[in-house]
Subunit: 698 residues, 2 copies
Amino acid sequence: MNMNIWLYAGLIGGALSILAALAAYKNVLKYDAGSARAQEIAGWIRAGASTYLKLLYKTLIALAIILGIILAIVFSGVEKQNHGLLTAGAFAFGALCSALAGWLGMKVAVEANVRTAVACKEGVPEGFSVAFKAGSVMGLAMVGVAVFGMSLLYLIWEDVEIILGFSFGASLLALLAKAGGGIYTKTADIAADLVGKVEVGIPEDDPRNPAVIADNVGDNVGDVAGMGADIFDSYVAAVVASMLLGFSFHKQELLGAQYVILPLVLCIIGIISTFVGLPLVRVGKDGKPGRALNFSTVFTCIVFSVLATAFFIIVNAVSGSMSGNDPMQGLNWGALISTITGLLIGVIIGFTTDYFTNDEHAPVRRTAQISGSGTGLTIITGFSYGLISIAPAILGIVAATIASYFTSQAFGMPGIYGIGVAAVGMLSLTGVIVSNDAYGPIVDNAKGIAEMSGMPHDVVDRADTLDSAGNTAKAITKGFSISAAALTVLAMFAAYCESITTYSKQDLKLDLMDPLVLSGVLLGCIIPALFSAELMLAVTKNAFTMIEEIRRQFKAEPGILKGTVLPDYTQCVRIASAGALKALIGPAFLAVICPLIVGFILGPGALGGFLGGAIFTGVVFALLMSNSGGLWDNGKKYIEAGNFGGSGSEAHKAAVVGDTVGDPFKDTAGPSLNTLITVMSLVASLFAPLIAVHHFFK
Amino acid sequence: MNMNIWLYAGLIGGALSILAALAAYKNVLKYDAGSARAQEIAGWIRAGASTYLKLLYKTLIALAIILGIILAIVFSGVEKQNHGLLTAGAFAFGALCSALAGWLGMKVAVEANVRTAVACKEGVPEGFSVAFKAGSVMGLAMVGVAVFGMSLLYLIWEDVEIILGFSFGASLLALLAKAGGGIYTKTADIAADLVGKVEVGIPEDDPRNPAVIADNVGDNVGDVAGMGADIFDSYVAAVVASMLLGFSFHKQELLGAQYVILPLVLCIIGIISTFVGLPLVRVGKDGKPGRALNFSTVFTCIVFSVLATAFFIIVNAVSGSMSGNDPMQGLNWGALISTITGLLIGVIIGFTTDYFTNDEHAPVRRTAQISGSGTGLTIITGFSYGLISIAPAILGIVAATIASYFTSQAFGMPGIYGIGVAAVGMLSLTGVIVSNDAYGPIVDNAKGIAEMSGMPHDVVDRADTLDSAGNTAKAITKGFSISAAALTVLAMFAAYCESITTYSKQDLKLDLMDPLVLSGVLLGCIIPALFSAELMLAVTKNAFTMIEEIRRQFKAEPGILKGTVLPDYTQCVRIASAGALKALIGPAFLAVICPLIVGFILGPGALGGFLGGAIFTGVVFALLMSNSGGLWDNGKKYIEAGNFGGSGSEAHKAAVVGDTVGDPFKDTAGPSLNTLITVMSLVASLFAPLIAVHHFFK
């Protein structure tokens, strides 16, 4: 098997995906952008989004330059030629790629929102078509730049450690984008609700509310840019971790060279499956948009499995290794089974998440029911179901780990490599998942614009139908992405251990009975908790500031509430943007510096334990927060739909508090934890060559 | 060193402690029990407590008989003579000892509450004296029966594994008492508040509220019986774990035989220190009860350190091993330093907890302040500070682990034994800690009785002063007991590994890179979450039932609210008791069965990982829930003291919701997690001989 063929295929596949994204973008722009009023509102959102993005990218550039220089200097000591500069370059390139894809996704989202609203005048299927097309721009762009970037780097330098730098760049951007976006969106959401709905009593998405534009911008920066960057980062990290494992086992002569790039090849197959799956997603006359979104996930999953199997058959036929059980020749069936197992379990986990957050099942209904007896009970009940929801996802992760490990081993391959490709398999659907995810904020915005620009009731209702589907899809993709991130970091964790073993020339044993490893685990357990707390406190602090600003505007200019004077939207956008980015310093510090402190002081064993601890509690808190947040949100909606007293009842008031608590849980802290553990794992792997040799405790 | 001397000393010390408890009990009974009205109210509480205890002990006996028979049968297969019967007997004996001490503690608490109220007529110091004396009954009885029981068993059979059965019995009772008491107390508390304060608008502790007696009973069953059993269980487990480690290292000829019983000896020194410390605790004319409680902790800690050092010097002088660095002769200084390190760090952790829950510091104040902007923000802020509060305690645990391990090693002893005695050191204060803890519900009840029986305002105020001190002391002892439990289970975890190594005749390596170990850890991470959720859902479910009952009574008999007809208190007591004990089945199942399933299916490595995972997330959730709960409670009180709008303001309403959420956090789920992880560790150690040989995955 000639490796370069696959790398060229990666370049071509990646480029095609990017082109498809651009084509979809141009296509979206062709739709009617509506009345002057609608365009004006969309313009404010656009301007607000661009204010935030500029600040975000400035912060990123500052941080990237500092870290780039540090990387260049630190790694110039490593024996390979120019390793410092190359790592720094790859790091910057990774951050740039992720930023570009995110920027494109945001760009199209803020154009598509108003066009979706206008298209809803014709019907739900038409609105769905615009929004989903726009969402797919982000999905296609993400996988495109990732595969293109990694293929290019590997083609030129044939060194997986360079791609590790690329992955670190992507992750760092993801951390800033996800955590920053999460703080931004919930600051605006909570402030807008608390003053608008609760104090002044104006409806959601009312143009008289000074925070309404910030709130709509927030949906884009949190869910488009943030969530996209997050999945992008898991995607790249899963590939890099598997490549590192493949490389390490290849050096130990346990695997053939083809396994180093197999993860990339699986991504190419993923891109092709996305090409097949995406165009088929449409809503019929009376069709449900939610079902269309789920169909895209399941169908692409089937296409991927078929194509991957075909690929293995063809390669083995060509290479003459018909049995496919030899890990040095052709492609081993163990790798295929592991990949598909990962993918299947990922989809199953996604759907179990649905059980806990969908209002058709007991958790949401019981929480809504008990809300009538007091707000405290709403919180306790939702939180408890959130705790229970951890179990199925972790059982899934354990099943995927055990199945892929022992299957690979049964086929004569190193079991850990199987875990790596299982993660890649889970993430092979990234194109579709990101598309579904980006669809959400677009239709949410569309609904807002339809209301604010005074479109007829049936148009708003259609936009609302699209929005509900977005929420369900979001819950599923969130469960999916947390599990995929968990499996990815487990693979990355293994890659770190292999790397330490290589560089220190002795086996790294992460024995829990070793007090340094155990201390590392305990210290690691702290980090996700501190990280979540910092993000959530930033939300409450910024919301507090914004609430003061909204109250000030209402007081200073009584015409705002009468609807005769426009509020100053930019002030709220500014508070949200600046507050979010300022609040990132602490969390970014935690993610990058803590692993280094533990590694250089307590040594590689403690750092391994530290990563483990962070992964364990990180996954637990991510699932708890995302699911309980989703549950409260839908509990509130269930009551608003007329159950247990409906809007305005005591139960509803309690449910609104639940939703407010759930907001930073599900959209700020919970999903950012993925990125946190990925960044920490990457920092550890990247610095493994140094930490293996230099550390205080011997 | 003749071992038997120390075992006899244990018998005598234990017996003296029990006698001192009985003497204090008789002394408390001599105080004035007040007016007929006060006695009538106290009588209801007494009757309610006894209803619950009877049900609890019935459940315990049923469970103990089943488990005893299983233990007797399963362990009859082990090679030692009569091992099955002896283990089962020790198990029953352990449960009985813990039950007896708990029963005595409850008995005195429900007599002392009314007497404290009456004594408050004379002044704060007089009231304090009665309450603290009554609290010390529980403290002295607990350490007395524990040391007596363990010394007796070891004197007769000289087999640490028999004492393991004793410890398991104590833990099982603790699980039932702590979790059951936690559900009981918060069911009654929440229901009484939600209908009484919020719906009907009558004050706390109003005799018209049908749930008021259940609420007062709850304080006793949750905080006296429950918390006492919990610390008792950690205390015994720490000693047993260290004895097991000592025994194992003695067999490997790494330690002399004296280290097998050194943990018991340290307990005897602890008892003597308690004898010295307790009588000195009193409040001066203008003294603060809170300071007196803290003084008791710090002073006993100093006495213990001095006595332990003197003991080591004398033993080494007598045995002629003046250097004290030989782990086979005399007593090694490493063991002393580890013990005192554990103790000091335990006290420090206790005081850091205070930072997060005391209204003089930022966390409580900021949470109270932000309450004015919305209930959601109260919850998010308090929860975030709870997340942060995990860090100092875990840093302390890590410091204790590393310091005791490496100190012991530096002195030529096995490091893990150092961790064991550090845990024993932390828990050597148990007598004082339990006394301080039991003081809390007594003064809480005293305040209730003073109000309900219409005592003058200044008496109620004095009782309130005593109550506030109880809350602060409770926060400190809670942080202390979680950390002590964590260190104990780490020692127990090590004992489990040693045991597996002994019986499987090969080293057990808990390598996180082993997929079975890793899967075990991930599965273990689920358990504390599920356990907490089950307990909290039981609280909301039972509170819901009780709320219906209170509403029913108010409706059926309008005279109740007018104060002309007494409500039916027993109905609420019955709902709380039956509901709590019924809800225990699931959690008990989790604790006992899950480790066995993991062990017998996935093997000893996975079970080791499983324990690890449960410990990691268990400690994290225990700290999070206990501290955020305490924070919300004190935030509410801070507002009620007149800050940020005072009682009745929007901020106060938000803070009340925070307190309701915090109730099951801090008094049901949080502190029960200690017991959960102890029970699981004991189950694993107990079944280690069988699991080492029989398991499905090889």
